[in-house]
C-alpha cells in the first residue's frame, strides 16, 4: 500500500473525494445530455476504475465508452460530454467520429421537447438540405365527420390488401408440412405412451412490412393532412408492420408519433415533429438519406413501399432516380401515389418522373382519402402482377438511356 500523502492544508478536500465527485458529475452530465446509463453499467465503470486505475486519459476514455455507451449513434454526444469533463476542449478522442451512419446531428433545440418522442422518432433523424430548408411546423387541422367514415373504410381495407409471406415460426395447423413431435409426446404421456392423435405444424402467413414515405413539401400543401391521415389508417390496421416517414428538405421518422390511436392527436404529434412542412423539395437527398441508414434500409427490404409525392424535383433529378431504383430493388413492390395523377390529362412527362417510371410497379393518383381508398383497393392487382408495370401502363415514349 502506498504511503498516504501528507495533506498540505487541512482545508483541502481529499483528492479521492474530489475525483469521485468529478466522476459522479460526469455520469450525471451524461444523463443530462440524453444518454441515460443503467446502474449496472455505471457500476461496471466504477469497478473497472477501482481495480485498475487508468494509466492515462485515453484509457479512461475507453473504459468509460465501453462500459457506458450502448449505441454508436450516441457516440458524438458521449464524446462531447467526456471532452467537457476530462479534456476541457482538448484534442478529440483517438477515434474519428463515425460518418453519417445515422444522419447528421440533431437539430438544435429540436421540436417536441416538451413531449419527448420515443427514441425511434427522434427529431432530426435525417440530413438537412441546406439551400431550401425552412423550419416551421404546421397545424394539420381537424378530422371532420365525412373524413372519419372514409378513414374507417380505409382501415378496414388495408389488412386484406397487404401482401403476406410464410412465417418462419411454425404454428399448429390442421394440415401442415411437419409433425408436432413435442405435442404428440406430451399427449402420449397422458395415454400411457400411446400416440392417439397427431398434430401438424404449418407456417402461417405473415404480412410483409408496409413502408410509407410522404412528401410534405410546399407543392403538396393542400394534400398533406389527408395523406397523413391515410398513413394513420394503415398504421392502425397493421401497427407492428407499418413504418411511416415524411420528407421535404429532411427525412423524419414519424411512426411513433403517428401511432397514437386518435387521428387528430396523431397529427398534432406529427406536426410538432415535422419541421420542414410546406418547405422546399429535395426528394433525391431525402431518399438517399433514407437509403444511407442501414436500419432504415432494413425496413424497406422485402416491404411494400408506397411513396406519396408529386415527384417534382428541383435541380438535378439523377439522385432521385437512382434512389428510386434502389428502393425498388430493396422492396417487394414500389408504388408511387401522386396527387397530380388524379387528373385524367396527367402524363408522367417531367424528366424526373419519366426517368424513374421504369423502376415503379404502379403509379396511381391519390390526393385525398377517397382517392386513397380507391388506390388501396387497386393494390391486390398490382401485387399479384409482374413487376415494373407502371411504364407500360402509362405508355409514354421510353426515356432515352433506359432499357426497360
Amino acid at each position: 500500500m502506498p504511503p498516504r500523502m501528507p495533506r498540505t492544508c487541512s482545508a483541502m478536500p481529499d483528492p479521492v473525494v474530489l475525483a469521485a465527485d468529478h466522476l459522479w458529475g460526469f455520469l450525471t452530465a451524461l444523463r443530462g445530455a440524453g444518454l441515460p446509463t443503467a446502474p449496472t453499467k455505471r457500476a461496471d465503470l466504477l469497478r473497472t476504475i477501482a481495480e485498475t486505475s487508468p494509466p492515462d486519459l485515453t484509457a479512461l476514455y475507453w473504459y468509460a465508452r465501453i462500459t457506458l455507451l450502448q449505441d454508436v449513434s450516441d457516440l458524438p454526444a458521449f464524446d462531447r460530454v467526456f471532452d467537457a469533463w476530462f479534456r476541457q476542449g482538448g484534442p478529440g478522442p483517438a477515434d474519428p467520429p463515425l460518418e453519417a451512419d445515422d444522419g447528421g446531428a440533431r437539430s438544435p433545440g429540436g421540436p417536441g421537447e416538451d413531449d419527448p418522442p420515443p427514441r425511434d422518432a427522434r427529431p432530426g433523424d435525417g440530413a438537412e438540405a441546406a439551400a431550401l430548408s425552412v423550419h416551421h411546423t404546421r397545424d394539420f387541422g381537424r378530422t371532420g365527420e365525412h373524413r372519419t367514415a372514409l378513414m374507417r373504410a380505409l382501415e378496414a381495407a388495408w389488412p386484406a390488401v397487404l401482401p403476406a409471406v410464410p412465417s418462419r415460426r411454425r404454428r399448429p395447423a390442421r394440415s401442415g408440412d411437419r409433425l408436432d413431435v413435442r405435442h404428440a409426446w406430451r399427449r402420449a404421456l397422458r395415454h400411457d405412451g400411446e400416440i392417439i392423435q397427431l398434430r401438424r405444424l404449418a407456417r402461417p402467413p405473415r404480412p410483409r412490412r408496409l413502408l410509407i414515405l410522404i412528401d410534405v413539401s410546399g407543392s403538396l400543401r393542400q394534400h398533406t393532412p389527408d395523406l397523413l391521415r391515410a398513413a394513420h389508417t394503415a398504421l392502425r390496421a397493421a401497427p407492428a408492420r407499418t413504418e411511416v416517414f415524411t420528407f421535404g428538405t429532411r427525412l423524419t421518422r414519424i411512426t411513433a408519433a403517428l401511432a397514437r390511436p386518435h387521428a387528430d392527436q396523431a397529427l398534432r404529434a406529427v406536426s410538432s415533429l415535422v419541421t420542414d412542412a410546406d418547405g422546399g423539395t429535395a426528394i433525391g437527398a431525402a431518399l438517399e438519406c433514407f437509403l444511407g441508414n442501414p436500419r432504415f434500409v432494413a425496413l424497406a427490404r422485402g416491404a411494400l413501399v408506397i411513396v406519396l409525392s408529386d415527384g417534382l424535383e428541383r435541380g438535378d433529378h439523377a439522385p432521385m432516380v437512382r434512389a428510386t431504383a434502389r428502393l425498388s430493388r430493396l422492396g417487394h413492390r414500389l408504388v408511387w401515389w401522386s396527387p397530380l395523377a388524379c387528373s385524367p390529362t396527367y402524363r408522367p412527362v417531367t424528366r424526373a418522373m419519366a426517368a424513374q417510371l421504369a423502376s415503379l410497379d404502379h403509379l396511381g393518383g391519390v390526393r385525398d382519402l377517397r382517392t386513397a381508398l380507391e388506390e388501396v383497393r387497386r393494390l391486390p392487382a398490382v401485387l399479384s402482377g409482374p413487376r415494373h408495370l407502371a411504364a407500360r401502363r402509362w405508355s409514354v415514349p421510353r426515356p432515352r438511356g433506359t432499357t426497360r
Partner: protein, 303 residues
C-alpha cells in the same frame, strides 16, 4: 480458464496474444476485450460488415485455448434451436421399452433426454468456452428475450430440471450489423464496442500478414486505394476482408504476368460486389488508383 487466462487479464499481454494469432486490434477493441474478460460480461460488437467482428470470437478461442461455440442467428430462430430441446422420440422409445419390459418408466425429464443447443452447451462447458452469437440483428426481436437470463447470469432455467448455472462463465461475443436496433435490456447486459474501419497502419499490417509476399510499398498503395474507395458514396463500402481478398487476387494476377495497376483493376470484383458501385468506382478510377506502383519489382517483397 487456462493458465494463459491470468495473463490475458493484463491489457498489454492481451494485445500481444491477439497479434500472435494474426489479429491486429486497436486500443479500443483491446480495452473492450480486456474488460469483457475481467468483468465477465458479454461483449456486443457492432460495425460495418467485414471489419472482423466474428473473427474476434475465433481468435479469442485460439488465444484462450477454449472451445468456440457458435450460434448463427436467423429470422425465426427459437429457443428450441438456441437453448435446449427435449428429445421427444427418445423419450417415447423409453416409454415403449419400459412398457415391454414391464418396468417403471421412471423420470423422463433427465439430462440424457436433453438436446443441448449452443447456449446450454456454453453453460455446461466445464472449462468454460467462447460463445459467439453471430448477427443477432437477424433474429426476431422477440428472440432477444430468450437471451436475457443467459447474458445476465450465465444461467438457463429449464422448467423440468431447474436452473442450470455455468460453473465457469463462458466468454460471450455478440455481433450485430445494425440492420435493426437491439433492445435496451440486451444492451444493458453487455459491454459495447463499435469497430470502425482500421487506420492505415493497422490495415497495412493486416494486409502484409494476410497476403504473403506483398511489398511494403504495394501494401501502402493498396491501403490508400481502399481508403479512397471507402470515401466514395458506395452502396456497400469494402471491409478489411474485401481488401485482403483484393490484395490476394491482384497478387495472383501479378504473378501471372499482369502489370500491377492492371492486376488491381482486373481483380476489382473482389473488392466491389455491386454493379452500380463498380460503375461509380470506374468513373473515379484515376483518383483511386493514382499512386499504384507500375513496376513488378515494387510489388513483390521478399516472401
Amino acid at each position: 480458464m487456462t493458465t494463459d487466462g491470468a495473463g490475458l487479464l493484463r491489457e498489454r499481454e492481451l494485445a500481444a496474444a491477439l497479434e500472435a494469432q494474426g489479429y491486429f486490434a486497436d486500443e479500443g477493441l483491446c480495452t473492450a476485450i480486456h474488460l469483457a474478460l475481467r468483468l465477465g460480461r458479454p461483449l456486443l460488437l457492432e460495425g460495418e460488415p467485414g471489419v472482423g467482428k466474428t473473427e474476434v470470437a475465433s481468435v479469442l478461442s485460439r488465444v484462450t485455448g477454449l472451445d468456440l461455440i457458435r450460434l448463427q442467428c436467423f429470422e425465426g430462430l427459437d429457443s428450441g434451436q438456441a437453448l435446449y430441446e427435449w428429445d421427444y422420440p427418445k423419450q417415447l422409445l423409453q416409454v415403449r421399452v419400459a412398457e415391454s419390459r414391464g418396468q417403471d418408466v421412471g423420470d423422463l425429464y433427465r439430462e440424457e433426454f436433453l438436446l443441448r443447443r449452443p447456449l446450454l452447451r456454453a453453460v455446461r462447458a466445464e472449462q468454460g468456452a467462447v460463445l459467439l452469437i453471430d448477427e443477432i440483428d437477424r433474429a426476431d426481436s422477440e428472440f432477444e428475450a430468450f437471451l436475457l437470463e443467459f447474458l445476465g447470469d450465465f444461467q438457463i432455467t429449464i422448467p423440468e430440471l431447474g436452473t442450470v448455472r455455468a460453473r465457469t462463465p463462458p466468454i460471450v461475443v455478440l455481433t450485430s450489423n445494425r440492420t435493426r436496433e437491439l433492445h435496451d435490456a440486451l444492451k444493458r447486459r453487455c459491454l459495447y464496442h463499435w469497430i470502425a474501419f482500421p487506420e492505415p497502419d493497422r490495415e497495412r499490417a493486416i494486409l502484409r500478414m494476410a497476403v504473403p509476399g506483398l511489398a511494403e510499398q504495394a501494401a501502402a498503395g493498396l491501403v490508400g486505394a481502399v481508403r479512397r474507395v471507402r470515401r466514395l458514396p458506395l452502396l456497400k463500402r469494402p471491409g478489411i476482408a474485401e481488401s485482403v481478398e483484393w490484395g490476394r487476387g491482384a497478387m495472383a494476377l501479378a504473378e501471372g504476368g499482369s502489370p500491377w495497376p492492371v492486376a488491381l483493376r482486373r481483380a476489382l470484383g473482389l473488392l466491389i460486389k455491386d454493379e452500380e458501385d463498380t460503375r461509380l468506382l470506374l468513373a473515379h478510377a484515376d483518383e483511386v488508383f493514382g499512386d499504384a506502383p507500375a513496376h513488378a519489382e515494387d510489388v513483390f517483397g521478399d516472401a
